[in-house]
């Protein structure tokens, strides 16, 4: 008799210390129910998180988790997934973590099609350090580090991931957990790198982009874009498009566990050098 897993099995019982109303609660819930629905055992799942409010997510997760340094979730996930391919590995962090300090790693994880689901809790602000401008803050955004309004073009994470070769690109909203959960399930099932950008409001430091803002602006898409042109126009029309926006299959056998008979080590090592 197989016991059915629930989201609760993916909680360690710790009460989150996020602010009331924080979008990250929804993301945590989405990850927990997605894993339960896929019937992945907690001990076979690893959550890798970065630094910032969102990085605390690993402290509330009931499987194995690793709360890394700022921006280094994806390299850490590479080490876990490549050496233990049977594990389900999810990386999670904020927009500062993934599109600021760690943006180089995003590009390379996408290039190498690392079979990890990367969930970015995007609130367009540095919440943990009390409200500075982030890489996805809109032009004109006023904060303590852009008092005259943000002059730097915000990162478009979806197109950046696409141009780096990502084979799964999705976007969701922590105010719509049902949709988000489905998106995460699809991301985990995808054999390759998946980026899921999640609008996860910071109700304290970025009031302009709260739940209502997203509810009004998000458009849902049922099917991934059929061509690169389609993807670009979809994102250009509305950067707040939600759903699986891009998905392609690519040979990924290098990450699949290959059981091989280990030869006699001394004999093997000798053949390397003699």
């Amino acid at each position: 008799m197989v016991e059915t897993l629930t989201a609760k099995d993916f909680s360690n019982g710790n009460a989150p210390t996020w602010c009331p109303g924080c979008g990250d609660y929804g993301v945590l819930r989405g990850i927990q129910s997605a894993l339960a629905k896929l019937n992945i055992q907690p001990e076979d799942s690893v959550l890798v998180s970065g630094i910032g409010c969102s990085g605390k997510i690993s402290h509330y997760f009931g499987g194995y988790s690793i709360h890394t340094t700022h921006g280094r979730t994806l390299p850490t996930a590479l080490g876990i997934k490549s050496s233990r391919p049977e594990l389900t590995v999810i990386a999670a962090g904020g927009d500062g973590d993934g599109y600021g300090i760690g943006v180089g790693h995003l590009v390379h994880a996408a290039r190498r099609n690392l079979p990890v689901t990367y969930i970015v809790m995007d609130n367009s602000v540095y919440g943990n350090t009390k409200g500075q401008t982030s890489p996805t803050s809109p032009l004109g955004y006023e904060s303590s580090t852009s008092p005259e309004g943000n002059l730097d073009q915000p990162i478009n994470p979806l197109l950046l991931a696409w141009s780096s070769g990502a084979t799964f690109i999705g976007q969701g909203f922590s105010g719509d957990i049902k949709h988000l959960e489905d998106l995460i399930i699809k991301g985990i099932q995808h054999d390759g790198f998946s980026l899921i950008n999640v609008f996860s409001p910071c109700v304290v430091f970025n009031k302009a982009q709260g739940y209502d803002f997203y509810k009004n602006i998000i458009t849902y898409h049922e099917r991934p874009a059929s061509s690169p042109q389609d993807l670009v126009s979809l994102i250009a029309e509305n950067p707040f498009s939600a759903g699986v926006l891009w998905q392609r299959q690519k040979d990924n056998t290098r990450y699949h566990k290959q059981k091989s008979e280990e030869p006699d080590l001394l004999t093997y090592l000798k053949t390397r050098i003699v």
């Binding site: 194995y64 690793i66 890394t68 390299p75 850490t76 490549s82 233990r84």
Partner: protein
């Protein structure tokens, strides 16, 4: 010991001739070492190749020898460079009309083909059977003209042949560098995954693993930078697999972030630093031992670490295996400091020696729990008596925990009561490697009761060993294998009869001396320092040491 030199222009195939010679000498079973001069710039200029061959049955190759038995040179610069180093100044060969080369030793040879002619001279001189080398020449070059050049050279070499020509010793030899040795030891120590970013002089490790790991079910990854490399290694180790990271100074600076993280989270990590001339990009192809003080302290905050230094190419095989075991027991960073010379030095030695080094250490996973189920009350960061905590890995049911760089409680959770945790968990983590169980913190040889001890490590090891061996009964040699934690008691015991110690190191600020200070404070200490990127020949080293011993030291070296 025999030593030969080959000197010509870049593009004349000097190195290919060296490779052929090395291959032949290896097949005869003689331990030997090749040395290539990098001091000239890569584009244009000169290239020189030297080889030092051990006498029969020696398990160690000679150090870099100053005195040369025979030299074949292409230009006047070669004559200038090698005549002073020749034991017999007439044993120099080259093209016609070069001053300083005896007329019978001159040949009318083309610029391209000089290398084959020179190979002939060296082979004749050493008494290697003609066919043995000629076969290799014919495999690598076109027959005809090259065979003629080789034969002409060979005949010329025979005119000065050594008394006891090399013969087949029937010993199976292998050629390895320090980097190769690390890779062999690592695989024997259970490493199946490797993540690296190319950097001189550690790239060879990454390249080796791309070839060596896939056939045994593992793999290597070239990542985007050193931050990625160290974090991938940490992830791999967290997942319960063995790995390590290797780099040199500039990469080390970037990896320092991960070093502190591994320490805070008590994830086992082995880091290799192939030291090169610094600071910054410095001298990428030149040797130095100048990162040691950095390695002792790298990282913000305070944490435990172990710092090991191999003393020879063979020792690299042992040290990496020991480091992997130590890291899993103590769950703190274990750093191995090599230097460029040791990392890149290619030596040919009996396979048996390599095999013994590989077998010298057993894999010990320390405090790692690989199987379910585990105790319900399990807390990842709770110490068990005086031993470090038990560590679960993903897949172990009931062992799930969070590893966090944020200060945490014994379960791993952040935002604990800091006042409580800093006095308990932090103190335990900080002091857990204050003294470690390490069988051999140094290698000791020579006269144990001597009033004078020579100390060094890494590339300096073979020079100290050679010097002590050449002055039987006079001195003691100590090659340091463990710099942190300092093996104070063992050092005090080994130095009990020494009133004077000479510490030889490749840096300007006497870093080893600084680190050893506590253990040697009652001694008269002399430093021999070199930091121009070059390494000593046996003779240079001996002269420097004798100068110190004669009390003729300048203020600079005191």
């Amino acid at each position: 010991m025999k030593s030969i030199a080959l000197f010509g222009l870049t593009g004349q195939g000097i190195e290919t001739a060296g490779e052929i010679l090395s291959h032949v000498i290896q097949s005869l079973g003689y331990s030997h070492r090749n040395w290539r001069d990098f001091s000239t710039i890569i584009r244009g200029g000169h290239t020189s190749f030297e080889m030092y061959i051990a006498d029969k049955f020696d398990s160690q190759p000679p150090p870099r020898l100053q005195s040369i038995d025979l030299a074949v040179v292409w230009t006047d610069e070669g004559v200038e460079r090698y005549i002073p180093r020749l034991k017999d100044s007439s044993k120099i060969f080259g093209p016609e009309n070069i001053k300083g080369i005896p007329t019978p030793h001159q040949g009318n040879i083309p610029k391209l083909g000089f290398n084959v002619w020179a190979l002939g001279i060296i082979s004749g001189f050493l008494g290697i059977p003609f066919e043995k080398v000629n076969n290799e020449v014919e495999m690598r070059f076109r027959k005809g003209k090259n065979t003629d050049l080789f034969e002409a050279g060979y005949q010329l070499g025979l005119t000065v042949q050594i008394e006891e020509p090399l013969n087949d010793l029937s010993i199976e030899n292998a050629t390895i560098s320090g980097n190769d040795a690390l890779c062999l030891g690592a695989i024997a120590g259970g490493v199946r995954y490797y993540y690296g970013y190319p950097i001189t002089p550690a790239s060879e490790i990454l390249e080796n693993f791309f070839k060596w790991l896939p056939p045994i079910g593992g793999g290597a990854f070239q990542v985007e930078d050193e931050m990625a490399a160290i974090h991938a290694a940490i992830g791999c180790s967290y997942a319960g697999q063995r790995t390590f990271v290797a780099t040199s100074g500039p990469g080390l600076s970037l990896m320092t972030e991960g070093l502190g993280y591994a320490a805070a989270t008590e994830i086992p990590l082995v880091l290799v630093d192939n030291q090169r001339g610094g600071p910054s990009t410095g001298m990428p192809t030149k040797t130095e031992q100048s990162d040691l003080l950095h390695l002792m302290n790298a990282g913000h905050g305070e944490f435990a670490r172990i710092l090991l230094t191999p003393t020879s190419v063979l020792d690299c095989i042992t040290v990496i295996q020991e480091a992997l075991n130590l890291s899993e027991f103590y769950q703190c960073p274990v750093i191995i400091a090599l230097d460029l010379d040791l990392a890149l030095r290619k030596i040919s030695i009996p396979w048996k020696e390599i095999e013994d080094a590989i077998k010298s250490v057993e894999i010990d996973r320390g405090r790692t729990i690989m199987d379910s189920p585990i105790d319900e009350k399990y807390k990842r960061f709770e110490s068990a008596g005086t031993a470090p905590p038990l560590r679960t890995v993903p897949g172990v049911k009931g062992g799930a925990y969070v590893a966090s760089g944020d200060e945490h409680d014994e379960s791993g959770f952040m935002e604990p009561d800091f006042r409580k945790i800093r006095g308990s968990l932090h103190i335990r983590r900080l002091n857990k490697a204050n003294s470690i169980h390490y069988n051999r913190p140094f290698t000791r040889f020579g006269n144990h009761d001597s009033p004078i001890t020579l100390i060094g490590t890494g590339a300096m090891g073979e020079l100290i060993e050679n010097f002590v061996k050449n002055h039987p009964g006079l001195y003691q040699g100590l090659l340091i294998r463990q710099l942190a934690p300092l093996a104070k008691e063992e050092l005090a015991e080994a130095l009990k009869d020494s009133r004077k110690v000479i510490i030889a190191e490749y840096n300007a600020k006497a870093q080893i001396r600084t680190i050893l200070k506590e253990a040697i404070k009652d001694k008269h200490i002399y430093s021999l320092l070199r930091f121009d990127g070059e390494h000593f020949t046996d003779q240079e080293f001996q002269e420097e040491i004798l100068t110190i011993l004669d009390g003729l030291t300048s203020d600079l070296t005191k």
